[in-house]
């Protein structure tokens, strides 16, 4: 694979430790389209480096996973490739196993307490980030600072706050991986057991047996329903109509006296913290949160309001879901052959259900809440750099690497100190123009799913757990369409049901507004914060994700057929085409 001609300078903007080197040709790499489905802005690669740094620390040094170390990553043409580091020497595995049991078992044993403490740590971290002061460069240092003999001028804090912003973000990822692999591992143990005991059980049935119902990630959608109910109760439902923007609605509510004010207060209650969900998975600065862009939550309100007025109950039937889950757990238990197997099953399901709230719940704190604070702080710097003549537009900051941003900040600090203009404007504008062009070039290229020699087996637990990559599904990816007439696309059966309808191929979240009632959503990856569009669509198809992906979880909640992890749906399905989605078999059929 070569850097696309004309984009060499943009490629060079990524830090050197992310570039492929000749010796990398010997290794197997696969495209991490699950987390990075679009070409990466230079700044956004901070998400990759912070995440892999923390994931590797946890695997290699903290919990000492016996058979795997961290994940190496490289970037080319804006695409992130990753490769595992398996431990194969039996003596080394034995040595690491001993360490692992002293560490991981402590976490399992104290899981509930540690998860409670984890939430406290995350809230403290979030508070720290929220309390970082706003960026300020007054003309003269405030008098009180001088009289307090502070001794340090305001420009210094630009660098200080930037470094703290980055430091907090890296720290967040350490917490993200503090318990994640252990959580997935306990789930995988139960998953493997079910697959052996019941060879024909579907992945989604196993997932339903461990699914939690209190997870934070369902709450944002619940808040929209709550606001819809408030609107009806306050007699404001007429204000919420399709095609009216959030700003227009809020403006008209301002004329609605006490009721309007009451609804706006309820909105504020929901926003903190529940609108801190972004419309992606936390790896792109342009996956804005509901708080930053009320379009998504507000576009869901008219639909929910109509359902409430029609007498429909929008409450999640938590008790019913729990009863169904218990029925499945008991039912499969009864089907086991011996009391011995039932004993092992009880142990595994108990452990899986204990750890699963973390697996489902951590994302809200990390990929959503904290990540939004982080990117928004960087946006403040974007505005600062633009005000000081370094950028044409505040958002352009994401076309600079985090090191270049630091240089630009020092340029601003120096300019303020010296009373001279900043020096980098022309230079940065040229670089940014080049990089914008490169992203467009890269987005149009085909991305090979894997590079280098394909190994005979892939049993690295981290790769299997986090990416769902096994030798079998890799073969499917690499071989492309397997069906004779090219009319079928196969993926994971994520949620049961068969639906025929019009495909709406949504390549980025900005296009979400194109979805019409009854459309079948076809996208690279969905996220639970897309939940409000799920009440509009009739089925979902994604390129990426396994039966535990959030798209799959939400689809099951909404009872919509879903096929995920197809690898190629957005490439092969045309917008507007008629397709059939069979969520039980994991097959999408092209009809028109």
């Amino acid at each position: 694979m070569r850097v696309a001609p004309g984009t060499e300078a943009a490629q060079a903007a990524y830090p050197y430790y992310m570039h492929f080197a000749p010796e990398d040709d010997e290794r197997f790499w696969f495209y991490n389209c699950m987390h990075f489905p679009e070409p990466m802005h230079v700044f956004d690669m901070v998400t990759a480096e912070a995440a892999y740094c923390a994931l590797g620390s946890s695997n290699t040094r903290v919990h000492c996973l016996p058979t795997t170390l961290g994940i190496d990553y490289r970037i080319i043409n804006g695409r992130v490739y990753i490769g595992g580091n398996a431990v194969t020497d039996p003596d080394e595995i034995a040595r690491r196993t001993e360490e692992f049991q002293k560490r991981a078992f402590y976490y399992y044993e104290h899981w509930e307490r540690l998860y409670d403490e984890w939430k406290d740590k995350m809230r403290a971290l979030i508070k720290e980030a929220q309390e970082l002061p706003p960026l300020a460069l007054p003309e003269f240092e405030p008098l009180e600072n001088v009289h307090a003999a502070k001794g340090i001028a305001s420009n210094h804090y630009l660098l200080d706050i930037y470094q703290k912003t980055l430091e907090g973000y890296f720290r967040m990822w350490h917490h993200h991986f503090e318990m994640l692999l252990l959580g997935y591992g306990a789930y995988m143990v139960f998953f493997d057991f079910c697959k052996k005991a019941f060879p024909e059980i579907t992945d989604q049935t196993i997932a339903r047996m461990v699914a939690g119902f209190e997870a934070e990630i369902f709450q944002p959608d619940e808040e929209i329903k709550r606001l819809a109910r408030c609107a009806v109760e306050l007699g404001l439902d007429e204000e919420f109509r399709d095609g009216v923007s959030a700003e227009e609605i809020l403006a008209s509510l301002a004329d609605q006296g006490e009721a309007g004010k009451e609804w706006r207060d309820e909105l504020e209650t929901s926003r903190d913290p529940w609108f801190n969900v972004n419309v992606g998975d936390g790896f792109y600065h342009y996956h804005r949160s509901w708080n930053d862009d009320l379009t998504l939550p507000f576009s869901a309100l008219p639909g929910y309001i109509a359902k409430i007025k029609a007498g429909e109950n929008l409450e999640r039937p938590v008790a019913q879901l729990q009863a169904e889950r218990q029925k499945l757990i008991d039912g499969y238990r009864d089907l086991l052959a011996t009391e011995e197997e039932r004993g092992a099953y009880d142990q595994m399901i108990t452990l899986a259900c204990r750890v699963f709230p973390y697996v489902e719940g951590h994302k809200f704190y990390c990929e959503h809440w904290y990540t939004n604070l982080f990117f928004n702080k960087i946006r403040e710097y974007g505005a600062l750099l633009a005000d000081n003549g370094l950028l044409a537009d505040a958002e352009d900051i994401f076309h600079l690497s985090r090191y270049e941003v630091e240089q630009a900040i020092i340029d601003v600090m120096t300019s303020w100190s010296n009373g001279s203009p900043t020096r980098g404007g022309a230079r940065f504008r040229a670089m940014i123009a080049e990089r914008k062009k490169a992203i467009k070039t890269w987005a149009a290229l085909d991305t090979p799913p894997a590079l280098g020699p394909v190994p005979d087996i892939i049993d690295d637990p981290a790769i299997v757990m986090l990416w769902g990559i096994t030798r079998e599904n890799l073969d499917v990816w690499l071989s492309g369409p397997a069906d004779a007439d090219g009319k079928e696309i196969r993926g994971f059966a994520a949620s049961n049901g068969v639906v025929e309808g019009t495909a709406r191929v949504i390549k980025s979240v900005q296009e979400i507004g194109r979805l019409q009632d009854g459309d079948i959503l076809v996208c690279q990856v969905t996220n639970p914060t897309w939940a409000p569009v799920f009440h509009k669509i009739s089925a979902a198809v994604s390129d990426i994700g396994g039966s535990m992906s959030h798209a799959a979880i939400v689809a099951r909640e909404y009872g919509l057929p879903a096929v995920v992890g197809t690898g190629q749906a957005t490439a092969r399905i045309k917008d507007g085409q008629r397709i059939r989605v069979d969520g039980a078999r994991g097959v999408v059929t092209l009809l028109g």
Binding site: E109, A186, E200, I201, T205, E341, P461
Partner: protein, 366 residues
């Protein structure tokens, strides 16, 4: 098709006249009656008791066969010459058994047996005189042995009229004197006086769709799914392998239909005018159409589970969906033998500490 769109009522409700020493109605018997009603008869009785719909019918008990053979043996010895046969002398076995089969087919039915069959048949077909029935041999040997006991599986479909029924009863009995049956008995040294056979006489289902069902996956042994195979017309086409059936897998707990293999079904077996069955080509639009609806699959699955629960073990089942009414009947249910016979290592054993299970993932032993 288009014969008799009215439903047969369930076997349970159909005890038309009292059971006797010669005739046993399904509702009066169970597996414990196997020595006198055979495996098939006992199983149909058992299903009837479990409140599962089977086409109504009765069993001509083994006593009738004994009475018949005793009379024939008194006329001219029959058992002694069979017992004297050398199973390796196939030519001689062929000659001797041929003569005996002819005698069985042509001998008069003991008058009391004939009368009882006529009364029972009339009661069975009271709502539809000369309604078609199936006449099926019902062996008293263990099921596992049945398979190798060639000749004991005779089933005559779409039999019309009591004289023809009595002929088919004799045909079932005669099958005990096939070359294969006799050689099998001689090789194992089974005494002829213990040879016995019951015969099932049962109303015939004019099947729109029929097939088999396994309450444990025949391919993987999975206990959590029911595998259903079916094709248009009578089930005999599926059982004999003349048609590649549609195949579905239904999860017992979630009722998800996880496999749907719809095959190209080129023919179906249907009743022939005047009795018996024939093959007819299927019209193009039916060949690749699923022969069961989702709702029928779910209903069938539930019936399979009831049979499994009643017997306390996995079952291999034959079923039919009645033409016109869509009613589902079971024609047979017997224990699954392949997977049940396997010694299986447990998938996992309890650990002293539950968290040790995670070493299966993290310890590199996957």
């Amino acid at each position: 098709m288009g014969r008799g769109a009215s439903s047969l009522c369930s076997g349970k409700a159909r005890r038309f006249v009292e059971s006797t020493e010669t005739i046993a109605w399904f509702a009066d018997i169970g597996l414990e009656d196997r020595p006198s009603v055979g495996g098939k008869g006992g199983s149909l009785g058992e299903l009837t008791k479990a409140d599962i719909d089977v086409p109504p019918g009765f069993v001509l008990r083994t006593g009738a066969f004994e009475k018949f053979i005793r009379a024939l043996d008194a006329e001219e010895p029959l058992r002694a010459p069979v017992e004297a046969l050398d199973p390796d002398d196939l030519d001689n076995v062929g000659v001797v058994t041929g003569t005996i089969r002819n005698r069985v087919l042509q001998a008069a039915m003991p008058s009391d047996v004939g009368d009882e069959v006529r009364i029972a048949y009339a009661a069975l077909c009271a709502d539809a005189p000369n309604a078609p029935v199936a006449v099926r041999s019902s062996a008293t040997t263990e099921d596992a042995a049945d398979a190798s006991f060639a000749g004991l599986q005779d089933t005559y479909l779409w039999v019309i009229g009591v004289d023809e029924v009595l002929n088919m009863v004799r045909s079932c009995w005669a099958s005990l004197y096939s070359v294969e049956s006799v050689c099998y008995r001689r090789k194992h040294g089974f005494p002829e006086k213990d040879v016995a056979m019951a015969v099932v006489v049962q109303r015939m289902i004019d099947a729109r769709t029929a097939g088999v069902m396994f309450t444990r996956s025949p391919t993987t042994g999975d206990r959590s799914v029911v595998t259903i195979e079916g094709a248009w017309g009578l089930g005999s086409a599926v059982v004999s392998g003349e048609v590649t059936p549609d195949r579905w897998v239904v999860a017992k707990l979630t009722e998800e239909i996880t496999v749907r293999d719809i095959s190209d079904k080129h023919i179906r077996q249907v009743p022939k005018d005047g009795g018996g069955i024939e093959h007819v080509d299927l019209p193009e639009d039916l060949r690749r159409a699923p022969s069961l609806s989702d709702q029928e699959l779910i209903t069938l699955k539930a019936i399979g589970q009831r049979a499994e629960k009643h017997y306390g073990r996995a079952q291999d089942i034959e079923w039919a969906v009645e033409n016109g009414t869509g009613e589902i009947y079971l024609l047979q249910s017997r224990p699954e033998t392949v997977w049940s016979a396997k010694e299986e290592a447990p998938v996992a054993k309890p650990q002293s500490d539950p968290m040790k299970h995670v070493m299966n993932i993290f310890g590199g032993r996957r």
